[in-house]
C-alpha cells in the first residue's frame, strides 16, 4: 500500500491512468535457449540416474558389499575342525593350491538353498572346498551335515564369529576363492547358483591354472 495514496481524500476514486507502457522489449532468446539447454541436461542426467537405479535393483545381490579383501592376502585364521575339535586348521596349511571357502551355518536358510549347487560343484573335485561353520552350536552343525550331506573337504568352526570379522564376513552364506599364494581372488555374498559358478568361479579357476 502506498502511504501517500491512503492519506489522500477520496481514495476510492480510480487511480490516475498509468503512464503509457514502454515499447515491448525483444525477449532475450539467448538466455532462454541457454536455460533450456541446462534444464534439459539436468533432466537427462536425472533420468540416467533413475535408469541406473532401476537396472541395479534387478540384480539378485544388489545389497552385497564389495569386499576390500579382493587382491589382498587372506586374513590368517587358526580354527578348530568341526569334526575333530582337538585339531586346528590354519591358513598357512592351505597354501600352495587354491581353495574355495564357503561360510554357512545350520541357522541359515539360504545355505540350504545353495547346498545342492555346492554339493554338485564339490563333486567335480575342481578345487579344495573348505566349509566355514559360522556362529553355530556344534551338535546343530553336525546334524545339519548329516541330514543334507557334507560336501566339504574340511570344516572349520568359528563359534564366536571373531575370525569372521577379520574376513569381513557379515552373514551366511558367503563364498571366497583364495589362490595358492594366499591372495583372496573372489567373494560372493548370498546363495551361489549354477550360473555364478559357471560364469564367475570356474573362469577364475581356469585363470589360476593357466597362471601356474
Amino acid at each position: 500500500m502506498n502511504k501517500s495514496a491512503m492519506n489522500e481524500p477520496g481514495m476510492n476514486q480510480p487511480a490516475p491512468a498509468p503512464a503509457p507502457a514502454p515499447a515491448p522489449r525483444k525477449p532475450p532468446t539467448g538466455a532462454f535457449v541457454f536455460a533450456g539447454v541446462m534444464i534439459a541436461l539436468f533432466f537427462i542426467g536425472l533420468m540416467g540416474l533413475l535408469y541406473y537405479g532401476v537396472k541395479k535393483s534387478d540384480t539378485a545381490n544388489r545389497d552385497a558389499l564389495p569386499s576390500p579383501l579382493i587382491g589382498k592376502p587372506a586374513p590368517a585364521f587358526d580354527l578348530p575342525l568341526l569334526h575333530e575339535p582337538g585339531k586346528r586348521l590354519t591358513l598357512a596349511e592351505l597354501r600352495g593350491q587354491p581353495f574355495v571357502m564357503n561360510v554357512w551355518g545350520s541357522w541359515c536358510p539360504e545355505c540350504r538353498v545353495e547346498h545342492p549347487v555346492l554339493s554338485k560343484f564339490a563333486m567335480t573335485k575342481r578345487v579344495r572346498f573348505i566349509g566355514y561353520d559360522l556362529k553355530d552350536a556344534r551338535e546343530d552343525a553336525l546334524r545339519w551335515l548329516e541330514q543334507y550331506g557334507n560336501p566339504y573337504l574340511m570344516v572349520v568352526a568359528d563359534e564366536s564369529g571373531r575370525t569372521a570379522i577379520d574376513w569381513g564376513i557379515y552373514g551366511a552364506p558367503e563364498t571366497f576363492l583364495v589362490d595358492g599364494k594366499g591372495i583372496v581372488r573372489w567373494k560372493h555374498v548370498g546363495a551361489v547358483t549354477d550360473e555364478i559358478i559357471e560364469n564367475e568361479l570356474v573362469p577364475l579357476l581356469d585363470e589360476l591354472d593357466a597362471g601356474k
Binding site: P18, A21, F34, K135, E159, G168
Partner: protein
C-alpha cells in the same frame, strides 16, 4: 508344496535366532567410555541392515561388531584406528561420513558443483536481461 514353503518362511526368523552369541550385555568402565562408544557406533553403519547405524541395529553381526568396537576401545585404540580397522575388513561402506579421497570427490563436492552451476546459469540470465534494458519503474503501482 505351497504349505511347505509357507512353513519354511514362518520358521525362517526362528532359525535366524538360533545363532550362537554372547548374551551378556556390554560392560562400560565409566560414563565417558559409554558416551564415546555411543558416539562412535552411531557414526558407523551396520553392514547387514544397511540403513541402520551400528548403534541401532539388532542384527547378529551388529552385536558382534559392537563388542569388537568396545574391545578395541579397551585396547586403547583411537576412534580413527577403530574406523580403519572396520574399513579394512568391510570397506568404506561402514562409514556414514566417508573419507575425502579421489573416488569420493563427486560425493563431497558434487552438491557444491551443482549449486555453482545453478548460480552461473542465474548470473548469465540476469546479465543478458540487464543488457536488454531493466524493468521499467512504475511509481503508480499500489504494492
Amino acid at each position: 508344496m505351497r504349505t511347505l514353503l509357507l512353513l519354511a518362511l514362518l520358521l525362517a526368523p526362528a532359525l535366524c535366532i538360533a545363532q550362537v552369541s554372547d548374551p551378556t550385555p556390554l560392560q562400560f568402565r565409566d560414563a565417558a567410555e559409554e558416551t564415546r562408544f555411543h558416539q562412535l557406533t552411531s557414526e558407523l553403519r551396520c553392514v547387514m541392515c544397511q540403513n541402520q547405524s551400528l548403534a541401532d541395529s539388532n542384527a547378529q553381526i551388529a552385536h558382534d561388531l559392537r563388542r569388537e568396537v568396545l574391545d578395541l576401545m579397551n585396547q586403547g585404540k583411537s576412534d580413527s584406528e577403530i574406523k580403519r580397522f572396520l574399513v579394512e575388513r568391510y570397506g568404506e561402506f561402514v562409514l556414514y561420513k566417508p573419507e575425502v579421497q579421489r573416488d569420493t570427490w563427486l560425493l563431497w563436492f558434487g552438491p557444491g558443483l551443482l549449486l555453482l552451476a545453478g548460480a552461473i546459469v542465474i548470473v548469465v540470465i540476469v546479465r543478458r536481461r540487464g543488457a536488454g534494458g531493466g524493468v521499467a519503474s512504475d511509481d503508480n503501482q499500489e504494492w
